[in-house]
Symmetry: C2
Subunit: 572 residues, 2 copies
């Protein structure tokens, strides 16, 4: 689809809703006049009411592109809700999705809520047994699966609907919607009831879980509503914004962006995969203003041959790991403005933000980047993030948590509480109890607390390297190694050492334009990088080993899987 179609979007007459269409669901009897249960479904309805003819969602880079105005899209969402009810979905039932970033799953984020169901998006990179486990554990009653991923549901007993991703009449998903429309008997939104309880479940997001079975993070309508508003506000999205789907929608409810985008009444562009040519095409030609991505995605972006300075600023929400000075500098050079946020699936994705202080603008990039790389302060609607002394094994789970001093040195664990913390791990009271020790969600992330109130992650607790009795932060080491001009990406893990207990081992991808310089001379590069490290790090934190690799093992969201690197190291 030509990008011109996107820029000059004009709805076809068929997309114009009849005058007087109402976007109100029935309010349950007995609801007080001054109460309306918070529910992010409200946003798409409001957007359709205000801007019926505005571009809501477009899926351009496929054989059969689709483009929907808010009015048409809201109608599709309504059809989905009725179809789910027709299919027997009851309030609280789980509806699973296995799909890349296509309109159908975006529709699910609203339509499933309108049917009072719970949306369980499943990572498309999982194996068939992993998917089977999640489908069973989540008690999914119905499943939507993209045509590319049907092999993942072979043999499942759960009824499923295949999405051909064409928007054409012969697509089973489209037929499902059409049946929903018929079933609605034109009762419209008023034929559906607003969920009475804002603490009702909204999403069931299975964590990637590097060890053991994945856990189902249960979110609420209230949390999703408040999280989405915060994301829209903190990233400056409004009705003139265009959001590009790079971050998978299946990851942590897409960090609540499926709702944040509709709160802002912005437009969204779907993408089946992280394809840099397509991304650059949209950044240059489609008026994109916002996208989310982990640093590794950003590294790919700035190093793509198509990369060039953008005319208008584009805001990128970076999380997953801290951006390095090098990355921030490169992004800024091409007019991409990083917004560094931090959170976990258990906190609806972003929950803290590294607020840029006005006076930082005057600092040199290296210094500024160090400040920006910190995880920051709870953002709008997120109430509390603290760094506390970790509870010791055997200590009472009710023992009050004690803050570490705000000295930028003492390491503790980041804990959260408030409206954008998950309700529980689904059907796992034991894990919930453990995660909620001390009346807070215990993140497992180790951090220091700076005097200015900013939290800075040092490491996941399991990623700390204990070298000669000293705690070395693998993240801090990575930050310094990444400042070497020839390093594209780097990951550091502990490797056992006969004398020091553990020592850091670095896995490095060389910058493609600089790799030739070291071809056949990786030993020389190793010496060069070690010398670079010694100038910047204490001895115990300098890498003992450096391995140049072609790629690093990553999760679907682009997080480096250190568990895989550790497995590798264990075999050395």
């Amino acid at each position: 689809m030509a990008n011109e179609a996107l820029k000059s979007f004009k709805p076809t007459p068929a997309s114009i809703p009849p005058p007087g269409v109402s976007y109100r669901l029935r309010v349950p009897d007995g609801t007080p006049v001054h109460y309306h249960a918070l529910n992010p479904l409200a946003f798409v309805l409001r957007a359709a009411q205000i801007y019926p003819h505005k571009l809501a969602i477009v899926h351009p880079d496929v054989k059969h592109p689709v483009i929907y105005s808010y009015a048409v899209w809201a109608q599709r969402i309504q059809n989905l809700a009725y179809a789910l009810i027709k299919a027997g979905i009851q309030p609280g039932n789980t509806v699973a999705y296995i799909a890349p970033n296509i309109p159908a799953i975006a529709e699910g984020y609203h339509g499933v809520l309108a049917a009072k169901g719970v949306l369980c998006p499943i990572n498309t990179r999982l194996t068939q047994p992993e998917v089977a486990y999640i489908l069973e554990h989540s008690e999914a009653k119905l499943l939507f699966v993209d045509h590319e991923y049907t092999h993942l549901v072979q043999g499942t007993k759960i009824p499923y609907i295949v999405i051909n991703d064409t928007g054409k009449e012969d697509c089973p998903y489209e037929q499902f919607l059409t049946a929903g429309r018929k079933f609605s008997a034109e009762r419209g939104w008023a034929g559906l009831e607003w969920e009475r309880n804002e603490d009702a479940p909204c999403g069931l997001n299975y964590t990637s879980g590097t060890t053991g079975r994945p856990k189902g993070v249960l979110t609420t309508l209230r949390g999703s509503y408040l999280g989405a508003i915060a994301n829209a506000y903190e990233t400056g999205m409004n009705r003139d914004s265009t959001y590009l789907w790079i971050l998978p929608m299946f990851h942590a409810s897409g960090w609540t962006f499926p709702w944040a985008v509709t709160f802002a009444a912005a437009a969204q562009i779907c993408l089946r995969s992280v394809s840099y040519p397509h991304i650059w095409n949209h950044l240059i030609n489609s008026g994109v203003t916002h996208y989310c991505g982990a640093p590794t995605v950003q590294i790919g972006l700035i190093n793509d041959p198509l990369a060039r300075r953008l005319e208008k600023p584009v805001y990128t929400i970076i999380a997953g790991s801290a951006p390095t000075a090098h990355l921030i500098g490169e992004l800024e050079k091409i007019n991409i403005r990083p917004i560094h946020v931090y959170g976990l699936t258990e906190t609806y994705g972003p929950s803290t933000k590294c607020y840029i202080q006005p006076e930082w603008d005057a600092l040199p990039l290296e210094e500024r980047a160090k400040l920006i790389a910190r995880q920051g302060i709870p953002f709008a609607t997120a109430e509390e993030a603290r760094v506390v002394y970790p509870l010791q094994e055997g200590q009472s789970p009710d023992a009050p948590l004690v803050d570490v001093p705000k000295d930028g040195k003492t390491m503790g664990e980041i804990v959260f509480r408030g409206n954008i913390v998950m309700k529980e791990y689904f059907k796992d009271p034991e894990a919930t109890r453990k995660a909620f020790r001390g009346g807070h969600f215990n993140s497992g992330d180790l951090a220091v607390w700076h005097p200015d109130g900013y939290i800075a992650i040092m490491d996941r607790s399991k990623d700390i390297i204990i070298s000669g009795g000293e705690n070395a932060s693998s993240l801090a080491i990575e930050q310094e190694l990444a400042s070497h001009p020839d390093v594209l990406e780097v990951s550091v893990v502990a490797r056992s050492h006969p004398k020091w207990g553990e020592r850091p081992m670095a896995f490095v991808i060389l910058h493609p334009q600089r790799a030739a310089k070291w071809a056949g001379r990786h030993g020389a590069f190793e010496q060069d990088l070690k010398a670079h490290a010694r100038k910047r790090l204490p001895g115990f934190a300098c890498p003992e080993w450096v391995s140049v690799v072609q790629e690093l093992p990553k999760t679907s969201t682009g997080k480096i899987q250190k568990v895989e690197l550790r497995k590798l190291v264990a075999k050395l």
Copy 2:
């Protein structure tokens, strides 16, 4: 105070909080990990945490100007909370304020909540007996009164504290704060407890009530939180914004802007009175980006001799009555961008917004202004505004409300429901029941509903003119008369007529630069205006009488008091 001080605000060392200061109140035992009671107190605490050294509030145009950073201001608010508790304020107790737009009342909006009190701001233009009634009805336990208004509380038995508005040690209010600080014994925020119930009362706002006793509109913490976020988002306020206090803070909780400004971590400028020289000075020199004001204030602003085109756009939130095409055009000429919102004290002030559709930009001003003058669509977090057939006397209050057709013609009453509707009229179950007929708040405003979903007020039900059996909207008549080039301001009311029952009578203020033209020839002006009207209005809506006046009776928020005009007319 020089405006330079504002622009180049640098906190004094004393204003820098000690490192590690915590902005967390104690969370009540038993609060779930994933729950935090919504409360707009959260915003100022977050602003102080993120931007301790940023300008929070300034009071420049007084003999003893004050200027506070967020850290210092938060400390003052904390002192106030402790002082209130020391003074015996219990959760749910009413604390009253009689003050213009000075820092002390802005502090009250946060400090009273921190003490779990209920803030009752009293209109400074009321008479002593009216104030006495409110103090008694609200059961105020404590009263803050600005030094200029102490005559209003003569003889009251309620303990009160005088605010000299100097910020100096000898001010009783400052002494009160100092005593609070001592009483806190440096327990800080952690010595105070977060209110557990978000449905708890927040504000008690007495409506001006043109007939009968004023009614106390009771708001909740939840509603104030959600209303303030919506106002910050819908007006585009952020940490770089500067808000100028023209709208009285005592009016409908200042439309929630005392909290919206802190949600945005913006700066606010206080003003003791609506002084156009001061306002223009700040618009030109102090970096103001936002202010709220009724059309009548805006008319004064554009006609002030100091008026000139502003370098950077300033956003003005207009409510109270619809802006005319003339007003919109004049504001735009000087780079002031109107945001037209609508609401009542019972809806926390703004609750709908006239969203500007992109295609309106291409329309001629007259046409565009007609669209912008409509009251619009419920805004972010406001759930439902409808136009329904008014319930008839004698009809069951539980009878379901029926929407009028969205035809732009059929008149009905605007009703609201949702989180930003008041909880009740304090101690007036009868009035509450009446206002909440049909499970909605019945606004008393008559409107039509346009096919595009926009609500447009025709009149307050009591302002409709029944002329020859036809319903004539006084607002619609005013809109047309205001387009006469020599009219500065106009108000239309019904006057009884022997043949037609009622006929419109217009009260007109001539434009100061055009008044000379009609000096001694008001009869000629009357003919000219009537001819102007006949070209634009049906016969029954044309004014039968025109009276040129020097001023119009107004409420403290600048609303024209038609009740006074009707009294005048009754004597003719």
